[in-house]
Amino acid sequence: MAVVRSRIKTLKIDGQDVGAHEDETILEVARENGIMIPTLCQLDGLSLVGACRLCLVEVVGWRNLVPACTTYVEEGMEVITNSERLQKYRRMIIELLFAEGNHVCAVCVSNGNCELQWKAQKLGMDHVRFTNQNPDRRVDMTHEHFVVDANRCILCTRCVRVCDEIEGAHTWDIFGRGENSTIISDFNLPWGESPTCSSCGKCVNVCPTGALVEKGKAAGEMIKRTEFLAYLTKMREVKK
């Protein structure tokens, strides 16, 4: 007997008629149909949080913009993924991320291998219109192998999610509110003194910027590898 996965919905994305399962998000359906929506906090294999807002899309008849990564498809929905309004907001989001932290690309170990930098270029950020906040944030080098530089953190929470959901350690979490939000290890202990960290390095590899990096790297030398995530997810699905 055939197993019914879920009901099928039909909708329009950028004028294109598409079919989708009801448990799929706008982002998934768009990707299946070759429509690329920019993302930053989203990573296949991790839970969805809609933190970065880069994937905001318009739905005809809806008053608010919605994140494509956390919005499920509905029958008859008309989605617009790339309008002037969306381009304006996406560029603004990237600029605000740059202004809020200390993203000095020239001296960053992730220079040239940074998802924030790539997105800035792709979304046409030729300068940041907002005043740099130049916050005074923590650099923690107490871990034997890794460094956390909160100056370059964009609070995407990929590290929090991979540590909790994949490694099962939940060493990382977010502390504070608003502009004072920052990632902490355990109850705000130095990373090197963490009783939960297994030193697996998953957080380092999923971090889109130079906030979590390996020690001993010079500017531009840090290259992140996220392939393990798809592999682990696949193997766990097989096991189920």
Binding site: F98, C105, A106, G112, A120, M125, D126, H127, R129, T131
Partner: protein
Amino acid sequence: MSKVTLATTWLDGCSGCHMSLLDIDERLIDIADKIDVVYSPLVDMKEYPEQVDVAIVEGAVSSEEDLHKIRMIRSRTKILVALGDCAVAGNIPTMRNKFSREELLDVAYIKSATENPQHPSEVIPALLPKAVPLHEVVDIDVFVQGCPPSADTIFHTIAELLAGRIPADLTEHTRPGA
């Protein structure tokens, strides 16, 4: 046809962007016929002219002198180009912004001084409280990111300006840290 007058200068920068400008190499000869360099560290001209077509400025605004200079340049220049990450975004000079001026001067002139420790009071221009990118203090017409921007990017920018166009979307050519 009269030549386009071009000025270049650096504020709080390392001169690396000017190095990259010179890296245009033999293409410099092509553009040399079309421009008149009226003010630059590369030529011997002490005063900024009253009227300049294009100014290319490297470096952030960090001191009273920088601020005075960029305002003067803006008032006498038709098209102002911010060249490189320090001019566009502040970059390395802004890494001091989390410290106060007093802390900085203490480290540079008192704690690390071997004799006569004191804050400078003359000749050296006073530091501004924070180093800022050019567009925080004057209007900018063209932003050229990169540390430094590549010679190709700079050549493209100059070629577009010489063709009478403001170069559109340079993010296809460069990015921060490029």
